[in-house]
Protein backbone atom coordinates (compact mmCIF):
# COMPACT_ATOMS: atom_id res chain seq x y z
CA UNK A 1 0.00 0.00 0.00
CA UNK A 2 1.24 3.46 -0.87
CA UNK A 3 2.08 5.44 2.26
CA UNK A 4 1.65 8.92 0.80
CA UNK A 5 -0.31 9.14 -2.39
CA UNK A 6 -1.07 12.20 -4.41
CA UNK A 7 -3.16 12.69 -7.52
CA UNK A 8 -2.87 13.44 -10.29
CA UNK A 9 0.69 12.50 -11.19
CA UNK A 10 0.68 14.81 -14.19
CA UNK A 11 -1.36 17.93 -14.74
CA UNK A 12 -1.27 20.07 -17.85
CA UNK A 13 -3.49 23.11 -17.85
CA UNK A 14 -3.86 26.55 -19.34
CA UNK A 15 -3.02 29.82 -17.69
CA UNK A 16 -5.85 31.23 -15.65
CA UNK A 17 -7.40 27.90 -14.78
CA UNK A 18 -8.05 26.64 -11.25
CA UNK A 19 -6.78 23.19 -10.32
CA UNK A 20 -6.47 20.96 -7.27
CA UNK A 21 -3.98 18.33 -6.21
CA UNK A 22 -5.02 15.75 -3.65
CA UNK A 23 -2.88 14.03 -1.06
CA UNK A 24 -3.60 11.23 1.36
CA UNK A 25 -1.40 9.43 3.86
CA UNK A 26 -2.20 6.14 5.56
CA UNK A 27 0.63 6.27 8.07
CA UNK A 28 -1.31 7.85 10.90
CA UNK A 29 1.04 10.83 10.90
CA UNK A 30 0.06 14.06 12.59
CA UNK A 31 1.72 16.43 10.17
CA UNK A 32 1.47 16.89 6.42
CA UNK A 33 3.26 19.24 4.04
CA UNK A 34 3.35 20.60 0.56
CA UNK A 35 6.70 21.21 -1.12
CA UNK A 36 7.44 22.76 -4.49
CA UNK A 37 10.41 21.57 -6.54
CA UNK A 38 11.45 23.85 -9.36
CA UNK A 39 13.26 23.03 -12.58
CA UNK A 40 16.60 23.26 -10.80
CA UNK A 41 15.43 20.64 -8.29
CA UNK A 42 15.37 23.13 -5.44
CA UNK A 43 12.81 22.03 -2.83
CA UNK A 44 10.93 24.63 -0.86
CA UNK A 45 8.28 24.07 1.75
CA UNK A 46 4.97 25.78 1.07
CA UNK A 47 2.61 24.68 3.83
CA UNK A 48 2.53 22.46 6.86
CA UNK A 49 -0.53 21.19 8.71
CA UNK A 50 -0.60 19.50 12.09
CA UNK A 51 -3.84 17.73 12.97
CA UNK A 52 -5.73 19.79 10.41
CA UNK A 53 -4.33 23.08 11.61
CA UNK A 54 -2.07 25.27 9.52
CA UNK A 55 1.31 25.68 11.22
CA UNK A 56 3.59 26.78 8.40
CA UNK A 57 2.65 29.11 5.61
CA UNK A 58 5.73 30.22 3.76
CA UNK A 59 5.78 33.10 1.35
CA UNK A 60 3.40 31.65 -1.17
CA UNK A 61 0.95 33.60 -3.35
CA UNK A 62 -2.54 33.54 -1.90
CA UNK A 63 -3.66 31.85 -5.11
CA UNK A 64 -2.44 28.70 -3.37
CA UNK A 65 -4.82 27.46 -0.70
CA UNK A 66 -4.31 24.23 1.24
CA UNK A 67 -7.27 22.39 2.71
CA UNK A 68 -7.12 19.62 5.28
CA UNK A 69 -10.49 17.91 5.79
CA UNK A 70 -8.89 15.47 8.24
CA UNK A 71 -5.38 14.68 9.38
CA UNK A 72 -4.95 12.03 6.67
CA UNK A 73 -5.64 14.42 3.82
CA UNK A 74 -4.07 17.65 2.65
CA UNK A 75 -5.21 19.04 -0.67
CA UNK A 76 -3.74 21.95 -2.57
CA UNK A 77 -5.94 24.25 -4.61
CA UNK A 78 -4.41 26.73 -7.00
CA UNK A 79 -6.39 29.58 -8.51
CA UNK A 80 -5.59 31.55 -11.64
CA UNK A 81 -2.63 29.43 -12.62
CA UNK A 82 0.42 31.19 -14.01
CA UNK A 83 3.31 29.96 -16.14
CA UNK A 84 5.64 30.28 -13.15
CA UNK A 85 3.58 27.77 -11.21
CA UNK A 86 4.95 25.01 -13.41
CA UNK A 87 6.89 22.71 -11.11
CA UNK A 88 6.68 19.40 -9.33
CA UNK A 89 4.60 19.54 -6.16
CA UNK A 90 5.30 17.02 -3.42
CA UNK A 91 3.12 16.09 -0.52
CA UNK A 92 4.82 14.65 2.56
CA UNK A 93 3.95 13.55 6.07
CA UNK A 94 5.78 12.85 9.27
CA UNK A 95 5.17 11.93 12.85
CA UNK A 96 5.55 14.76 15.32
CA UNK A 97 8.10 13.52 17.86
CA UNK A 98 10.83 15.25 19.85
CA UNK A 99 14.11 15.34 17.99
CA UNK A 100 12.46 15.03 14.65
CA UNK A 101 11.33 12.22 12.43
CA UNK A 102 11.72 11.22 8.84
CA UNK A 103 9.36 12.62 6.27
CA UNK A 104 7.60 10.36 3.80
CA UNK A 105 7.05 11.85 0.37
CA UNK A 106 4.49 11.19 -2.30
CA UNK A 107 5.57 10.59 -5.87
CA UNK A 108 4.93 14.15 -6.89
CA UNK A 109 2.56 15.97 -9.23
CA UNK A 110 4.19 17.50 -12.27
CA UNK A 111 2.22 20.62 -13.06
CA UNK A 112 2.70 22.24 -16.44
CA UNK A 113 0.97 25.51 -17.14
CA UNK A 114 0.76 26.44 -20.81
Amino acid sequence: DTAVSQTPKYLVTQMGNDKSIKCEQNLGHDTMYWYKQDSKKFLKIMFSYNNKELIINETVPNRFSPKSPDKAHLNLHINSLELGDSAVYFCASSQDIPGGAEAFFGQGTRLTVV
Binding site: K41, S48, I97, G99, G100, G106
Partner: protein
Protein backbone atom coordinates in the same frame (compact mmCIF):
# COMPACT_ATOMS: atom_id res chain seq x y z
CA UNK B 1 19.10 32.09 4.76
CA UNK B 2 18.71 28.75 6.54
CA UNK B 3 19.23 26.90 3.30
CA UNK B 4 21.90 24.24 3.19
CA UNK B 5 24.58 24.10 0.59
CA UNK B 6 25.67 20.82 -0.89
CA UNK B 7 28.97 20.03 -2.45
CA UNK B 8 29.66 18.89 -5.06
CA UNK B 9 26.68 19.78 -7.23
CA UNK B 10 27.45 16.80 -9.44
CA UNK B 11 29.57 13.71 -8.94
CA UNK B 12 30.40 10.99 -11.44
CA UNK B 13 32.20 7.81 -10.36
CA UNK B 14 32.72 4.22 -11.43
CA UNK B 15 30.82 1.35 -9.90
CA UNK B 16 32.62 0.08 -6.84
CA UNK B 17 34.08 3.43 -5.88
CA UNK B 18 33.01 5.41 -2.84
CA UNK B 19 30.96 8.60 -3.14
CA UNK B 20 31.12 11.42 -0.62
CA UNK B 21 28.69 14.31 -0.53
CA UNK B 22 28.88 17.24 1.84
CA UNK B 23 26.28 19.53 3.30
CA UNK B 24 26.85 22.79 5.15
CA UNK B 25 24.31 24.92 6.95
CA UNK B 26 24.20 28.25 8.70
CA UNK B 27 22.26 28.04 11.94
CA UNK B 28 21.86 25.51 14.73
CA UNK B 29 19.81 22.44 13.94
CA UNK B 30 17.81 19.80 15.76
CA UNK B 31 18.56 17.14 13.22
CA UNK B 32 19.78 16.60 9.70
CA UNK B 33 18.40 14.13 7.23
CA UNK B 34 19.59 12.75 3.95
CA UNK B 35 17.21 11.84 1.15
CA UNK B 36 17.59 10.23 -2.24
CA UNK B 37 15.54 11.17 -5.28
CA UNK B 38 15.57 9.03 -8.37
CA UNK B 39 14.73 10.77 -11.60
CA UNK B 40 11.02 11.53 -11.82
CA UNK B 41 10.28 10.11 -8.40
CA UNK B 42 9.63 11.31 -4.89
CA UNK B 43 12.20 11.63 -2.16
CA UNK B 44 13.14 8.64 -0.07
CA UNK B 45 14.49 9.09 3.42
CA UNK B 46 17.93 7.56 4.01
CA UNK B 47 19.21 8.58 7.43
CA UNK B 48 18.31 11.04 10.17
CA UNK B 49 21.07 12.16 12.50
CA UNK B 50 20.31 14.22 15.57
CA UNK B 51 22.36 17.16 16.75
CA UNK B 52 23.81 15.18 19.65
CA UNK B 53 25.00 12.39 17.37
CA UNK B 54 28.23 12.36 15.39
CA UNK B 55 27.92 9.35 13.11
CA UNK B 56 25.29 6.93 11.87
CA UNK B 57 25.43 3.93 9.59
CA UNK B 58 22.85 2.21 7.47
CA UNK B 59 24.10 -0.55 5.19
CA UNK B 60 26.55 1.04 2.74
CA UNK B 61 25.69 4.53 3.96
CA UNK B 62 27.62 6.47 6.57
CA UNK B 63 26.58 9.91 7.73
CA UNK B 64 28.67 12.18 9.91
CA UNK B 65 27.66 15.40 11.59
CA UNK B 66 30.01 18.09 12.86
CA UNK B 67 27.93 20.72 14.61
CA UNK B 68 30.97 22.88 15.34
CA UNK B 69 31.59 23.20 11.61
CA UNK B 70 27.90 23.11 10.78
CA UNK B 71 28.46 20.39 8.24
CA UNK B 72 27.49 16.84 7.44
CA UNK B 73 28.69 14.28 4.97
CA UNK B 74 27.12 11.27 3.34
CA UNK B 75 29.42 8.46 2.28
CA UNK B 76 28.18 5.71 -0.01
CA UNK B 77 30.64 2.83 -0.11
CA UNK B 78 31.05 0.34 -2.93
CA UNK B 79 28.67 2.28 -5.13
CA UNK B 80 26.35 0.61 -7.61
CA UNK B 81 24.72 1.87 -10.79
CA UNK B 82 21.42 1.81 -8.89
CA UNK B 83 22.79 4.50 -6.55
CA UNK B 84 22.54 6.98 -9.42
CA UNK B 85 20.20 9.66 -8.12
CA UNK B 86 20.08 13.10 -6.56
CA UNK B 87 20.89 13.30 -2.88
CA UNK B 88 19.55 16.03 -0.63
CA UNK B 89 20.36 17.03 2.87
CA UNK B 90 17.60 18.60 4.93
CA UNK B 91 18.10 20.61 8.07
CA UNK B 92 15.52 20.24 10.82
CA UNK B 93 15.28 23.47 12.75
CA UNK B 94 12.21 22.39 14.69
CA UNK B 95 11.08 19.20 16.35
CA UNK B 96 9.46 17.92 13.17
CA UNK B 97 11.72 16.74 10.36
CA UNK B 98 9.15 17.56 7.72
CA UNK B 99 9.57 21.26 8.36
CA UNK B 100 13.11 20.92 7.20
CA UNK B 101 14.93 23.19 4.83
CA UNK B 102 16.50 21.33 1.95
CA UNK B 103 19.87 21.82 0.36
CA UNK B 104 20.29 22.15 -3.38
CA UNK B 105 21.22 18.51 -3.86
CA UNK B 106 24.09 16.53 -5.32
CA UNK B 107 23.52 14.61 -8.53
CA UNK B 108 25.40 11.33 -8.37
CA UNK B 109 26.07 9.26 -11.47
CA UNK B 110 27.54 5.81 -11.00
CA UNK B 111 28.86 4.33 -14.23
CA UNK B 112 28.69 0.56 -14.63
Amino acid sequence: SQQGEEDPQALSIQEGENATMNCSYKTSINNLQWYRQNSGRGLVHLILIRSNEREKHSGRLRVTLDTSKKSSSLLITASRAADTASYFCAMGFNTNAGKSTFGDGTTLTVKP
